[in-house]
């Protein structure tokens, strides 16, 4: 009878996981929409790369991680930071360049850090953080730990030499890393197939004798499942995994880029929006009777309030003291 009672509990846990992921994805979506507004108002400067459309990747993959695992990202990392639990206030304040930001206003959109959550930064040279992930994995192995390092990068980083250097070392040294390639099809305005001889990123794993999986990045549960398998492999055997997660960004490359641009058609973007990962997960939960419209509306209202409060918090926070200019250049 144990199985009969365990089954509904497992289902309930799974539904709970999906509801949690749905909330995280909605939070990211509303956060990014507000970030776009704030950017237009001049509250956010510099480069600002939004995550709208790709939310299922962060939500699905991070759900498979433990608190003591490492996470490292490229410069399109607002979503990962929020899902990892960096408070929306601290992320928005960082975008606003304020002293209360998660990097004290010194990193900005592309350099969100929170070591208390082992969130080891956004890094802004394409591919430059991939060997850093290998180093975090090396440190785990050096200390005999069973943590993993989850590293996000876009498909365009696959054309960078150090991607290959890092994957080779991770495999030859058996480092517990999940290389999560978020293939959103365009490196800025260049379609991947125009610049890559091998367009299935997973194929690169063969060169490094590495496990790999092709994943639907619009399905949070698919991303969760693949990441969980990769994490288990890393914890049990130390072996790295390459995940190619097919996703799509509904916005431009950055805020200085129009919505669809000249490199892709409006029709293509609209077609992709039909695969919206948030709508898909919400629909799935509704079909399973685990969510209804009032509950979804309430969830949306709740995350909107979180984001609204974050904007107010960021707005009202002070700029860093001028003395911050010269602090943290070196450890004194």
């Amino acid at each position: 009878m144990a199985t009969a009672t365990a089954q509904p509990a497992k289902d309930e846990a799974l539904l709970e996981l999906q509801r949690r992921m749905l909330r995280q994805m909605l939070l990211v979506r509303r956060f990014e929409e507000k970030a776009a507004e704030a950017y237009a108002l001049g509250k956010i400067g510099g480069f600002c790369h939004l995550y709208i459309g790709q939310e299922a990747v962060a939500a699905g993959s991070l759900a498979a991680l433990r608190d003591d695992d490492y996470v490292i990202c490229s410069y399109r990392e607002h979503g990962q930071a929020l899902v990892r639990g960096v408070p929306a206030n601290a992320v928005m304040a960082e975008l606003f360049g304020k002293a209360t930001g998660c990097s004290r206003g010194k990193g900005g959109s592309m350099h969100l850090f929170d070591v208390s959550r082992r969130f080891m930064g956004g890094h802004a040279i394409v591919g430059g953080h991939i060997p850093l992930a290998a180093g975090l994995g090396f440190a785990i192995k050096y200390r005999g730990g069973d943590q993993v390092c989850l590293c996000y990068f876009g498909e365009a980083a696959v054309n960078i030499g150090v991607f290959h250097e890092a994957l080779n070392m991770a495999s030859v040294w058996k480092l517990p890393i999940i290389f999560c390639c978020e293939n959103n099809r365009y490196g800025m305005g260049t379609a991947f197939e125009r610049v890559a001889a091998v367009t299935d990123v997973v194929e690169h794993a063969c060169s490094y004798d590495m496990a790999a999986e092709l994943v639907n990045g619009m399905d949070a549960m698919a991303v969760y499942g693949a990441t969980e398998r990769a994490a288990e492999r890393a914890r049990k055997t130390g072996h790295p995994t390459l995940l190619e997660v097919r996703t799509y960004r509904f916005m431009g490359h950055s805020m200085s880029d129009p919505l669809h641009g000249v490199y892709r058609t409006k029709e293509e973007v609209e077609e992709q929006k039909k695969r919206d990962p948030i709508s898909q997960l919400a629909l799935k939960l509704k079909e399973e009777g685990a969510l209804d419209d009032p509950a979804l509306d309430a969830l949306d209202a709740e995350v909107r309030a979180v984001v609204e409060a974050a904007v107010q918090f960021a707005d009202q926070s002070p700029d860093p003291d001028l003395a911050e200019l010269t602090s943290h250049v070196l450890v004194e």
Binding site: G107, D114, G128, L136, A139, G161, W173
Partner: protein, 326 residues
């Protein structure tokens, strides 16, 4: 005090620091089984095993990044480059990761890492293998840069570098590895940021670092025979730079020559001259002169190579000019 080669002094520093702190490890090309391209890591694989003495593929950018990542997690990597000429491939990790992560994280993530290896010209290795990179590296905030000239300083500065919580560049000299000198046993740590007066004098200051300390000391001997008392100041640390010691010497001698292995344009000597004109302007009796590598890629031919490098003769000639003897 035991006499050691520069190579063995570095080896001793590595061994002692690895014994002292289990978070210190050495990584690079040929550091383990081969015992080091220049044998600096001789015996370390046998003593510490392959997890702490790690042979890498030829992938400078990759393993430099692995080092920085390991430092982000709190380990203390020592990354050996077979030469700094190859480290140019790793500059993205040195400049964009190691030097910046502390700052861009608002102080959350220190990077306690050492990047070390031979720098500057050896003999007839031609253009790509005969370059001095210190002005490139010392330009970058977030890095410390040291360039020891003697076995004792090599040991003491490498130990200081490994214990430092910041990224430290240690520039060694291939032509120095066999030089010998007295090296204190055990705990001998040379603080980063302190120059050293290698020879006292009264008439002219010769400022140098790393390999150019050797020709500068020879030049000082030749000048002594010509009745000129030269003071030789070894910078030892290029970032931070010990302005106080430089300025004190020039205030005493009123004349200065700066020698370096790098090219003249935007070189380390240019920075030294900036300090001296600003802090010792009223003490100068002559413009400061510089002795550098000729402003050309290094030629292979032995005679041309000799003509390109700083030498005792070139330093003597510059010293005589600032003393208005020629």
């Amino acid at each position: 005090m035991p006499t050691l080669t520069y190579r063995d002094a570095l080896n001793q520093a590595l061994r002692e620091e690895m014994q002292r702190d289990p978070s210190v490890f050495l990584m690079g090309e040929e550091v383990g089984v081969y015992q080091g391209a220049y044998k600096v890591s001789r015996g370390l694989l046998e003593e510490f095993g392959p997890m702490r003495v790690v042979d890498t593929p030829i992938a400078e950018l990759g393993f430099a990044g692995v080092g920085v990542g390991a430092a982000m997690a709190g380990l203390r990597p020592v990354i050996e480059f077979m030469t700094w000429n190859f480290a140019v491939l790793a500059l993205d990790q040195i400049v964009n990761s190691a030097a910046k992560i502390l700052y861009e994280s608002g102080g959350q993530v220190p990077i306690p890492i050492v990047f070390r290896g031979p720098n500057g010209a050896a003999l007839q290795l031609a253009a790509q293998h005969s370059q001095a990179w210190e002005s490139w590296l010392a330009h970058i905030p977030g890095l410390k840069v040291v360039a020891p000239a003697t076995p004792a300083d090599a040991k003491g500065l490498l130990k200081a570098a490994i214990r430092d919580d910041n990224p430290v560049i240690v520039l060694e000299g291939e032509m120095l590895y066999n030089t010998k000198g007295d090296v204190p046993e055990g705990e001998h740590v040379v603080p980063i940021g302190k120059a050293d007066v290698k020879r006292a004098g009264t008439d002219v200051t010769l400022i140098c670092h790393s390999k150019t300390v050797v020709p500068a000391l020879k030049a000082a001997e030749q000048l002594q025979e010509q009745g000129v008392s030269a003071e030789v100041v070894d910078l030892r640390s290029l970032r931070p730079m010990d302005e106080e010691t430089l300025v004190a010497s020039v205030v005493k001698t009123n004349r200065c020559v700066v020698a370096e292995e790098g090219w003249p344009h935007c070189g380390i000597g240019a920075q030294v001259v900036d300090i001296i004109q600003r802090e010792a302007f009223d003490s100068l009796d002559a413009p400061v002169l510089r002795v550098t590598q000729a402003d050309v890629p290094m030629p292979y031919n032995k005679q041309l190579e000799r003509a390109a490098k700083p030498s005792p003769e070139k330093i003597v000639a510059a010293a005589r000019r600032v003393c208005y003897l020629d």
